[in-house]
Symmetry: C2
Subunit: 123 residues, 2 copies
């Protein structure tokens, strides 16, 4: 690590997803990856996505989601898992703290958003 690189790494980008302006901020902490995905400029619903100590049949960890702030809706949990499970796996099973404020949570949009999160890799 160079002397000028800050210890807490953060990257962000803005792009259109199905014509909607979408912003992503990713910040790495030692015990969490913090990701905000917003189409409103808001931090939105705050969800923790945590790998369970138990694994499923094929040995990959399962994930628990918990809404810490904002509206607790079933779709939020599904979107959260779908969006950031791969980040947790790539980051040595670190839990994710996710802020989610989406206008469009179609499967196609979610797929595109995963690519955007990948482009802001800090883990």
């Amino acid at each position: 690590m160079s002397a000028t690189e800050p210890l807490i790494r953060t990257r962000q980008t803005e792009t259109k997803v199905n014509g909607i302006s979408t912003q992503v901020v990713c910040t790495e902490f030692s015990n969490y990856i913090f990701i905000v995905l917003t189409q409103y400029g808001k931090i939105g619903t705050l969800i923790s996505v945590t790998p369970d100590s138990r694994s499923n049949d094929i040995g990959t960890p399962m994930f628990s989601t918990k809404v810490l702030l904002g509206k607790d809706e079933p779709l939020t949990h599904v979107c959260a898992k779908n969006l950031v499970t791969f980040v947790s796996q790539e980051a040595g099973n670190r839990p994710i703290l996710l802020g989610l404020a989406l206008k469009d949570s179609s499967l196609e949009a979610i797929k595109h958003m995963k690519e955007i999160i990948k482009s802001c890799q800090v883990w």
Copy 2:
């Protein structure tokens, strides 16, 4: 706002407080100011600090604190209010989402940390 300025503003710094390496990250969202103050590299205890709609006798708003993630200790609420009430007031009474991982939460350290938060003003 220039074309190159990202819509989500974030600033961070690292400095010593009583000899302990201390990192601050401040990020502005439209509905929250997100601040992490860490001496462990961790996001630490996550606290929401929200101005109440009620005011006290002299018309200044009171603040509610809630631990969203991590250990819920009385000192955490006191430190959180002490550290970021001024930010909420300066940011048009926006609530604060605060990550706190302190080795030293003496009054002297807290006072210094407020100055560091000020130096990372994004609101």
